[in-house]
Amino acid sequence: MSGRLYNPMSLDNCSFLVTGAASGIGRATAIMLSRLGAKLICADIDKAGLEETLAVLEGTGHLSQVFDLRNIADIDKWVIDACASFGRLHGLVHAAGVSCIAPVKILSIEKYREVFLINTESALALAKVFPRPKVYAGSNGSIVFISSAMALVGSSAAVGYSLSKAAIHGMTRSMAIEYAKKNIRVNAVAPGFVKTSMFDKSKARWDEEQAARVEALHPLGFGQPEDVAHAIAFLLADTGRWITGTILVVDGGYTAQ
């Protein structure tokens, strides 16, 4: 019997693009994927945060890319150019996103369009360029979008955010069908409240009673970025080989009630 440990989530010899890698779920994902053996393009608008992420990744050959995903029309060229020097990809994780806490009466067109641009449209633009021969390595492709428990259940002051994340669900399912023949799986992970800087910003607006009420809605408490990173890695690796068009809810039980 071989003494070698069997790791079904090994990502040796695999390469991925992770957006939002400067902080939160994106950073935790990049770290997890590197620990599993992957080589990464880490992208974010935050240069300093990216440098901190790169400094803690395992392995070598990772690439840092400062890019503003609001430049939708440039995403195509940016990804192709990055892959020209880095090499082609086996998958992509779109973890970049912005929150939007605004009751409908003050939700401006400009605000919800900006949220939709970053959270949803850029996801589509990234997924659109991914299958190109200059980008996709051609086998066992996997795209993971980050949606949200807010796309599954309602909450006051969450319309702008919820609509951007609910759109991810529809996109995931249809794209999974369309991309199956290219051997590219498409899935989404829907986190509940995870302790990130985005969460801290929301929490700062709550009073103590609100904070306690929200935490009580999570049977397993608030999540950690690593909880979501584990799910993403599961979907990217061979462990996700037969999974596509799925929304994997990782929320400590928030939506089970």
Binding site: K105, I106, S156, A157, R205, D207
Partner: protein, 72 residues
Amino acid sequence: MDQFYGKVAEILEVNEVRDGDVLKDFEAWDSLTILSIIAMADSDYKVTLSAKDLDNIKTVGDLKTYFENHEK
């Protein structure tokens, strides 16, 4: 700060507001309105405001002064 009174009036669902108006006396004063004020403070004035801060702000005029003193 030009459009402050107009924005606050819109959030409080009234035609106009004055400095002396007590925030909690408005019919629309509820948790969503509080969130709206906090969101407006952040997006329009770059002012960080919490629900706890708002507890100590009594009138529309107090709110304006708070924004003027904390605007980045």
